[in-house]
Amino acid sequence: MDNANGNFDEMMGAGQRRRGPYNIYGDWIDAQDIKQLRRKSAEAKNFFRRTGITFNVYGDNEAAERLIPFDIIPRIISGREWNKIARGIEQRVRAINAFLYDIYHRQEILRAGRIPLELIADNDAFLPQMIGVSPPGNVYTHIVGVDIVRTGEDEFYVLEDNARTPSGVSYMLENRETMLQMFPELFSKIRVQNVSDYPDNLRRSLADCAPEQCSDRPTIAVLTPGINNSAYFEHSFLADQIGAELVEGHDLRVDNGRIAMRTTQGFEPIDVIYRRVDDNYLDPLNFRPDSMLGAPGMLDVYRAGGVTIANAPGTGLADDKAIYSYLPDIVEFYTGETSLLKNVPTWRCSESNSLAYVVEHIEELVVKEVHGSGGYGLLVGPTSSKSEISQFLKKLKARPGNYIAQPTLALSTVPILTREGLAPRHVDLRPFALVSPDRIRISPGGLTRVALKKGSLVVNSSQGGGTKDTWVLEE
């Protein structure tokens, strides 16, 4: 495979010499027959289909469940590279929790003038109901996914933090299972750090944050919007793996100051709810009155300490894209250290100088909605048509505060298997961090998402992206 486009390729670097982490794998793949590999690839697809590892597409009844394309060429990261990333994530996650605690208590960071008040006051993700509430162990974000992109040998950037209900970890685990089944010989040749303890660690993190009154083995439930939700597979997978009940709103009610679920023998209290439902839908008495996805009164029970909700309500504040641009300041404010992981330079369109710059340079920039996710509502300047740009400019000028802009990064590439053999495609990485009162555990690697279309920078599964297994080598 050659690397003519000048991007940083994680296998080939910037030139023609294979990078160290890919040494053994590279020799192996050179000796493989492409046809054989393509057969393996079809086998993998079949395995995913049989196991039902699917995601749902809304409003598309007949083909409602789809497979996320899986590429069988692993993405390989050295132990040394990973340690750096992991330290950076740990620092960031610690700061995010400290920030959330502060915002919902004394608000020192606002008093110190390090971030503007409007950023909090005008933010829908800020929940006044959470003011003065201290979650067990002061953990707000039990599960965090930090999206990281790479642009060079030593260049890593955080693209965004996912602090509400990050998804994708089931793919990290199933991708590895699939690779273990299909290429056992590679795992005896190459020492890859294990990820299979994630479910046990998740259970531990959740159990460690159970309400104080809960003495023995806490009862944990995963709250899902139901089988039509796009991530339902993941919800049931995680519930199964951590030995939790998988509940929906209609299984729950408030009973004696606790949240209880309807079992075959009556209502039984739940200690910890790992919710995969947004804040707004958790409790029709406190939030959206039309929501059927949560339980009336859940927030009151939570505030009184009758149940732990993970992630805590109101954590969405920390993964807002406008807050993101202040994250280096937030890290410094709470840890006293400079941020180990860099942010992508970000223009806040709410500031008039920045807006002027963004409007002028829009063809080079990526412009994102502050509250958007899933690759929706964004403009990739360099690949957009004139009319798309002018359409977007109208929206931008109408509500500049709703947007941020970033340079179009030259994301690193990793080879994927195509009909013609290996070919480079752009990737990002979502590592997963689990927060307990006493420590933060980060699974080595995470979910690598890959844009399957040549040259494309959009890796979201809803937009034609695929996934890869991510190997972090033992040092």
């Binding site: 196991t51 089988i227 009940e245 998988l246 299984d251 075959t264």
Partner: protein, 314 residues
Amino acid sequence: MTLGKTAGGLYWMFRYLERSGNTTRLLDAGFRMSLTRSASAQNEWRSVLETTSATQVFSEHYEEADLIKVIDFLLRDRRNPSSVLSVMKAARENARMSRTALTREVWEAINEAWIQLRALLARPIRERDVPEVLSAIRQQGSLVRGALHGTMLRNDVYNFSRIGTFIERADSTARILDVKYYLLLPSISLVGSAMDATQWEMILRSVSANRSYKWLNGADINPVGIADFLILDPRLPRSLAFCYAKINDNLKYLAKDYGSRCRSHELSDMYLTGLREHSISKIFDSGLHEFIADFIRNNNVLGQHIEEDYRFYK
């Protein structure tokens, strides 16, 4: 601890799975009859529709019943909530909903069954493919049941799956008897034409019992013997007595596990005793048709009580 929703999901998953197998058995028997005596085939297909409670929905869409229409309607018509395609979809949806209670093998078996059958039933079935398609549907069902028996813990989750299976099966056998009871009345057996013999064989076939009946009785097929076999014989896995012995056992395990009995237990005990104490001559004396109609009603009532006692929905 099992969620009411999960118990209900598995109960229905196995009812639906059982229903798809029962429908194929009926079609199998009907298909054979239509090959051997096409003259009154129309009536045969009517009775197949009647047995699956599909007559009304069918007549909303078709005037005449013939092989291709009935096969299509009962196997792959989405407008028919009891078509194999509809019930397999529902079985898999219920499995998805209750996935945390199923072993990986059971989940993969039902998922695979759905994937295979959806493809198999994507296009109208040609007459010559009918036997193969019917056997493929039954085979997929067997794979799911095999995974259940081979891998699931014998706990409440298993009990609910089994109860669903046998409530559905009892209903199906009873409906076959309900539609065909007049063929089994003693007055007819006196006449005993060749036509009746084919009809009797069809009844046995529709519960996959023609071979076992012959093992037990040789070539002497008579209506009282068939009724006795299908209603009271505890050895036949599709007889009413067998189904109720299983329902009763599984309810007993639940009572032991949970440490409490409910209304369902009283009913099931009562119905089982009824079946055990009856003789076939007594059933004929007091009216075969009334007996079957009562049974279908009681079986429904028991199903409803199980749903309430174990909080499937509320």
